[in-house]
């Protein structure tokens, strides 16, 4: 019986090893079913395409392909494939071997010029010439691409080839006329792979090329053709064309080119009928805005009434924390069917991570609720702004917009005497007999008004700064539109489309062509800086609530905010509320011209997650979004939510009159860019540098910007004050320049590296799609790829080309040295990697088997049988711990060596994560910070000891009990309540601490406790003052009470004073417990991160970023799970050290 059980264990062990061995072995069984040639081909393809997480094994695959050549029995199809793939593999390898690829492809084309794969071969060959920086031959590349166009003039591949030709002619061969021809062909080729807006861009380039070549009449004709393509004056190209035509001597009013009047389409009787009833979840963060919430609920109700089979369920989430929530949902693939999502996140998760559905094609088709093309019912700028700037695809769609303006306190304006006067100097009166406030029209008016307000005892403006200085950021487009127009031609260098795209901006900053310190560019901040003198002091630390309180309380007279909140503001202010638009910069230094158009804030967007396809709700979700952007729904949003509709021809809400006064959607300078926004959305480096920039803005505009406070704090006079301001401003600009340079560098490095990894996947998908799409070409053994879902090789070509373009653009910007480092092959070759992985897996299996045998041998197996009743009761615990504690821990250690996103991407990268970790300044700062926290927490234990001792020596037992109960109080209040209460105590404006300290005269100025790098850590540490730990007091008290009474009596008789008694008697008796507690505290402190997460999110400028929090952000915000795991492992090692100490102490204590 016993022997039998042990035998079973051993058998299991052997089976385990065998299973793993077999699972990891090459797929011999599959190959055996094929002919020898097919098997060789499949072996080669498996090495190229098998594991998307491993590098291509080019060498291994080549050997198999060579063997096919020498096989007399090999069929024509296998030979062709082998020859083509031999070329492809060299081209797709990392780094690519272009020369070898060219040789192989040449050979292929010589041998099979008529092969169905010849087209692809020509294209590949063209690319192998074009992207080869060292030996590529542009003429050769042109020849190959021309071959593609000759072979197939209509297909998508031909369109790509034409674009390649145009780019080559423009960039390399410098023949603008030829380039113009190719650009024209792509542009005029409707029905190809390019969207209408993109084709407009190509036509513009064609015209530019003609202009460059000096063919004036042709250029004018082409520009005019493009104008005709623009349906109305709001097309993004109109203004660029008009100003180019102006150069050619053709004067045009852009608005005379526009169509007369646009009316919104009528609603159709469309009904959406799914197969079975379904529920659609739609998440919003906006529901707490009263009017908006009502409108959305009503829209969902009407949608359900129209389409009774679909029930809409609103997931109402708070604004703060929505992004966190979304990030974790996206990682868990457990998402509502429709998400309210800003376009930056949409780009990040859409193009970069393939988590969102691509809406570009749907935009080109009709919206069933109107019968009109969906995309064309929008003002083009809304499609444009919601587009990924790199892949030019739409992953989200705007459903509402808002405008901004200064809300102002009319009563304050009247009190300050800022009123409109008639010719006699008498104030004009409104219908209620009150003077009409004079709303500032120009920047000078605004500053003058602020000065008068100051004399009347009001601060000019209050700005919300946390989490972002949103009002300030929203003002920047208005300023940039008025002063940066003239900068555009200087920076538009990579593609001459009169629009500096993100890469061009990055390049300009990196090469020094754009310096943020030059006066014109710095003017934006100079203007804001001048205005900040009138700000509510310390408003740079306020969040929306505080800022709004300051305005509602009448402290500040203006507040720059969004139009959709008119009703909420009216409800909460008890003075007369007015609104005026952003003033004109006429009369300021670098003013480029008047501008009168909406900033088109794409404030509210929808994105559809890809998981909808699996859930079967994709069609319904799209239908819902289309209804949401139909006139009927928009009408509701306009009426109740006060939005500006992104749809053309929709009227605006009458309440928005002040916001619309300057926004007739006609004007100049629409073609705007902002050098301070580089919109290649790549977390975390952009987020990181953005945080730094915001911190700079904080330090410039925060802390005593006005003279009164400066004088009170330093005693300096006006002159010193002016000097001080100037110095600060220059430092600010220097820092800004440094941060932007750093950001561009990191951005480009990271971005190209990421794209390299994406390219590897995309190329493999291309291969799979090509095999699936080529009839009769050895498809018998093609393994279907589930991720393709009907994607054609042509579609994948576009993705691959985009990847390549981005990589080359980025790398051309990097210094050569950096580029060479990046082109290095991966640390382990594909063969080695496969071997390592297999030995690792088999090794693990062997270890597990060894454990099994060991258990059997040591009698545990027998004990399990004999003592089955014991093991049955132990089993649940052992299994639960194995699943929820051991498995995750081991998985973390394992994945620390991977580039891992928690899902499909898990590429082995050796020690790279740890190397990156060594260079990660934020992390090391975090560890230093953790040390500070540890030391502080140890000190913070002292009050507990003191209180326990004092309590113990209370004469009255009754009082002792009462106090003991009182000290249990902190334990009872939920931790979150304590945190939020302290957040409230630390508020800058009206917080308890500042109010107290100022009232007592200890502070002149309110301090931004949680918002400044040098106060945030002490503030966090002071939370919980006076740091009495309930449990600690109770334990120590119990310990003291266990000391026999006689000991104390003896001590008192010996004449011991209280202090001496403490050191000689009590301390030694409770010392063991103290030590244990302290070690426990240190272990807990290293892991702490909920505290800064809730209160500061690690800010400002990473000043409170504890290592645990950094890990959390890396994992759940930046999607770098592997890196996060590596941080976790380092922390584990540190904690392990402390735990060892802990265990030793326990043993000592026990002894």
């Amino acid at each position: 019986m016993r022997r039998w059980l042990e035998g079973l264990f051993c058998l299991g062990a052997v089976a385990l090893v065998a299973l793993v061995w077999w699972r990891t072995a090459p797929r011999e069984a599959v190959y055996a079913q094929l002919t020898p040639a097919q098997a060789e081909l499949q072996r080669g393809i498996d090495l190229l395409q098998g594991d998307p997480n491993a590098p291509l094994d080019v060498g291994g695959a080549q050997q198999h392909f060579k063997r096919i050549e020498q096989m007399p029995a090999a069929g024509e199809a296998e030979r062709q494939w082998a020859a083509l793939l031999a070329g492809w593999a060299h081209w797709a390898a990392s780094p690519p071997d272009f020369a070898a690829a060219r040789r192989a492809l040449d050979k292929f084309l010589r041998q099979w010029p008529e092969s169905p794969l010849a087209l692809q071969a020509h294209f590949l060959l063209g690319l192998a010439q074009r992207y080869d920086e060292r030996q590529g031959n542009a003429q050769e590349a042109v020849r190959q691409f021309e071959q593609v166009v000759v072979h197939e003039s209509e297909g998508a591949l031909a369109a790509y080839a034409r674009l390649q030709l145009a780019t080559l002619e423009r960039e390399k061969l410098k023949r603008p006329e030829v380039a113009a021809r190719w650009y024209g062909e792509v542009a005029r080729h409707a029905g190809g792979p390019y969207q209408p807006e993109e084709r407009k861009g190509f036509l513009f380039l064609a015209a530019r090329m003609l202009q460059q070549a000096g063919r004036k009449p042709d250029a004018i004709a082409t520009y005019r053709e493009l104008l005709a393509w623009e349906h109305d004056a709001n097309g993004v190209w109109t203004e660029r064309v008009v100003s180019r035509l102006d150069e050619l001597g053709v004067k045009l009013d852009p608005w005379s080119e526009a169509q007369a009047e646009i009316k919104p389409p009528a609603m159709t009787q469309h009904r959406f009928t799914p197969d079975k009833p379904l529920t659609l979840q739609v998440s919003f963060w906006i529901m707490s805005k009263q009017g908006m919430g009502d409108a959305i609920r009503e829209i969902c109700r009407r949608y359900h009434a129209r389409n009774p089979l679909v029930t809409v369920q609103i997931v109402d989430l708070p604004y703060g924390g929505y992004t966190d929530w979304l990030q974790s949902r996206i990682l868990g693939r457990d998402l509502p069917d429709v998400l309210q999502m800003d376009n930056q996140s949409a780009v990040r998760y859409g193009a970069n991570q393939h988590r969102l559905l691509d809406l570009t094609d749907a935009l080109a088709q009709s919206n069933p609720y109107t019968g009109q093309t969906w995309g064309e019912s929008f003002w083009p700028q809304f499609i444009q702004e919601a587009r990924d700037p790199v892949s030019r695809r739409n992953y989200d769609i705007s459903w509402a917009s808002e405008n901004n303006a200064f809300y102002y306190n009319k009563d304050a304006f009247r009190k300050a005497g800022i009123v409109r006067r008639d010719a006699q100097g008498q104030p004009l009166l409104d219908e209620r007999g009150k003077p009409v406030p004079a709303e500032p029209e120009t920047w000078a008016d605004l500053l003058a008004a602020y000065e008068k307000l100051r004399q009347a005892g009001y601060y000019g403006e209050v700005c919300e700064f946390f989490p972002d200085p949103a009002p300030l950021i929203w003002q920047t487009p208005y300023i940039t539109k008025q002063i940066y127009h003239g900068l555009i031609p200087r920076l538009d260098v990579l593609t001459p489309d009169d629009f500096p795209d993100p890469f061009e901006l990055a390049q300009a900053i990196l090469t020094g062509r754009l310096d943020l310190r030059e006066p014109k560019v710095a003017e934006l901040w100079r203007l804001q800086y001048a205005k900040s003198e009138f700000w509510v002091p310390g408003c740079t630390s306020m969040d929306l609530h505080e800022a709004f309180d300051a305005f509602a309380r009448g402290k500040a007279a203006t507040f720059y905010w969004v139009s959709t909140e008119v009703p909420d503001f009216e409800r909460m202010c008890n003075f007369e509320l007015g609104v005026f638009p952003f003033p004109s910069l006429r009369g300021t230094k670098f003013y480029d011209g008047e501008y009168t158009e909406s900033p088109a804030l794409t404030a509210y967007e929808f994105a559809l997650p890809r998981v909808n396809e699996d859930k079967g709700t994709a069609a319904a979700a799209l239908d819902f979004v289309q209804y949401f952007t139909s006139p009927e729904a928009q009408q509701l949003l306009i009426a109740k939510g006060n939005i500006l509709s992104p749809l053309r021809g929709m009227p605006a809400s009458p309440r928005l009159e002040p916001f619309l006064r300057r926004m007739n959607r006609r004007g100049t300078h629409r073609n705007v860019f902002n050098p301070y926004e580089i919109n290649i959305i790549k977390e975390p480096y952009w987020a990181e540098s953005r945080a730094k920039v915001l911190d700079e803005i904080n330090s410039l505009l925060g802390n005593i910007p006005n003279f009164e406070f400066y004088h009170r704090a330093t005693g300096g006079d006006q002159q010193a004050y002016a000097q001080w301001r100037e110095t600060r401003f220059n430092t600010f600009l220097d820092n800004l320049q440094t941060h932007f340079k750093w950001a561009c560098q990191r951005l480009i490095t990271e971005y190209s590296e990421d794209r390299r990894h994406a390219l590897r996947r995309d190329q493999r998908r291309w291969l799979a799609a090509l095999r699936a799409a080529t009839p009769g070409m050895a498809t018998t053994f093609a393994v279907p790829d589930a991720t393709l879902q009907g994607t054609t090789p042509e579609q994948l070509w576009r993705i691959v080309l985009d990847d390549w373009d981005v990589i080359t653009t980025c790398e051309n910007m990097l210094p050569t040295l950096e580029r060479d480092r990046r082109a290095m092959p991966p640390a382990l070759s594909a063969q080695r990697l496969r071997m390592v992985a297999r030995s690792l897996q088999v090794g693990l299996a062997l270890a597990a088997a060894g454990l099994l045998i060991g258990l059997a041998w040591s009698g545990v197996a027998r004990s399990m049988l004999r003592e089955a009743r014991l093991w049955v009761w132990l089993a649940p615990t052992l299994l639960l711990l194995g699943l929820f504690s051991y498995y995750p821990a081991l998985s973390a250690i394992y994945h620390a060596f991977f580039r891992w996103n928690g899902a499909e991407v898990a590429e082995f990268i050796g020690w790279d994560n740890f190397r990156a970790l060594l260079a990660d300044g934020v992390l090391w700062h975090g560890f230093r910070l953790a040390l500070v926290f540890m030391a502080a927490n140890v000190l913070k234990f002292l009050p507990t000891v003191a209180i326990a001792v004092v309590l113990f020596h209370l004469a009255s037992k009754r009082a002792q009990y009462m106090f003991r109960v009182a000290f249990v109080l902190p334990l009872l209040i939920p931790w979150m309540v304590v945190m939020l209460m302290w957040k409230y105590i630390y508020r800058m404006d009206g917080g308890l601490l500042n109010t107290l300290l100022i009232d007592m005269g200890w502070l002149h100025l309110p301090v931004n406790w949680l918002g400044q790098t040098h106060t945030v850590v002490p503030s966090l540490l002071m939370i919980g003052f006076p740091f009495i730990s309930t449990i600690g007091v109770l334990i120590l008290l119990a310990g003291l009470q266990a000391i026999p009474e006689t000991v104390f009596e003896a001590a008192t008789l010996d004449g011991c004073g209280p202090l001496r008694r403490f050191w000689t008697l009590e301390m030694p008796l409770i010392a063991g417990q103290l030590k244990l507690n302290l070690v426990l505290i240190t272990i807990q402190t290293i892991q702490e991160f909920a505290l800064p997460l809730v209160l500061t999110r690690g800010g400002p400028n990473h000043a409170s970023m504890l290592p645990g929090l950094w890990m959390y952000f890396n994992a759940f915000s930046y999607g770098k799970m592997g890196y996060a795991a590596a941080i976790g492992v380092v922390m584990f090692i540190v904690i392990l050290g402390f735990t060892m100490l802990h265990l030793r102490l326990i043993r000592v204590h026990r002894d």
């Binding site: 990682l331 027998r862 929820f884 995750p888 109080l969 409230y984 449990i1031 959390y1112 994992a1115």
Partner: protein, 299 residues
């Protein structure tokens, strides 16, 4: 130095009186500091927006009791859900943990050392290391359950249910309990258990009738601590729950994060959310303190 007779009679009394006075002063000052957030919470919970804006710290009249009605409606679902999670998980952990501790303490069998080290080693693994893979594991399990559920026609879920909080908590909560309780059982006279065994009681019966009553105060303390910890848990629920399934910590943060916060009802919500723990500790205070004295977390 010799004190004069008059002083020698009065001085100790005065010093003692002084000393007592200082002790009371220190204790009362500490109590006040502790009470500040509580005071703020209570005072603001009775204000409307205007009162809050103009006098946030001092009591104002009229008192707005309707805030409590609003706050109650807001936090009740959070409280109910958290209570279910905290009590179920603690119950499971207590049952499984005490049984394991009892077996480890009172029975000798091959593999005991291995199994005990297996559990004890987990004391060294920080929770933070597990966070990321645990999340991935749970989403994987969730997908698996959903797939099974679809086949069987049952809506099986893990994410966004109470179980995703209960199961890991029940597992993790046991480690410390097993350690403490085993130490405790080891320190008890073996005769207690032997007698029951000689009487013919089985494993479960001894556990139920001897071990559990014996360790009642300690288990009580451990359970209360466990419940409090779960009550305050923030990170894990943040990752695995959606808004319609929020627990107290998340719910309060959620209310505070709204674009327009009305502080009165918000603070009323805070006050209400503190009540369950107040009740819990109020009922178990004696047990709790006795357990602490008996060495629940003394080690």
């Amino acid at each position: 130095m010799h004190a004069t007779p008059t002083q020698s009679t009065s001085s100790p009394v005065t010093t003692r009186f002084m000393a007592e006075g200082i002790k009371y002063a220190v204790l009362i000052a500490c109590c006040c500091c502790i009470a500040i957030p509580v005071y703020l919470m209570l005072v603001i919970s009775l204000k409307d927006t205007q009162q809050f804006v103009h006098a946030p710290f001092l009591p104002t009249w009229p008192l707005h009791w309707e805030n409590y009605r609003l706050g109650w409606g807001q936090v009740l679902p959070f409280i109910a859900r958290t209570a279910v999670v905290a009590f179920t998980a603690t119950l499971l952990a207590v049952i499984m943990g005490s049984l394991c501790a009892f077996i480890f303490s009172q029975y000798e069998f091959a593999g005991k050392r291995v199994a005990y080290s297996y559990i004890f080693a987990l004391m060294m693994i920080p929770g933070i290391l597990n966070l990321v893979p645990l999340y991935v594991l749970v989403t994987w399990l969730d997908n698996l359950l959903r797939a099974w559920g679809q086949q069987a026609g049952v809506p099986l879920r893990l994410l966004n249910t109470v179980w995703v909080l209960i199961l890991p908590a029940a597992a993790g909560g046991q480690i410390f309990m097993i350690y403490v309780l085993r130490t405790f059982f080891d320190s008890q006279p073996r005769a207690l258990f032997e007698a029951a065994r000689i009487d013919g009681a089985g494993l479960l019966a001894i556990w139920r009738h001897v071990a559990l009553p014996l360790s009642k105060p300690i288990i009580g303390t451990l359970a209360v601590l466990n419940i409090v910890a779960l009550w305050n848990d923030y990170i894990w629920p943040l990752l695995v729950l959606q808004q319609d399934h929020y627990t107290v910590s998340l719910g309060l943060k959620y209310l505070e994060g709204q674009q327009y916060v009305q502080y009165g009802p918000l603070m009323a919500g805070y006050v209400i959310s503190a009540i369950p723990l107040l009740l819990l500790l109020g009922c178990t205070m004696r047990l709790f303190i006795r357990g602490l004295a008996a060495g629940a977390i003394k080690m």
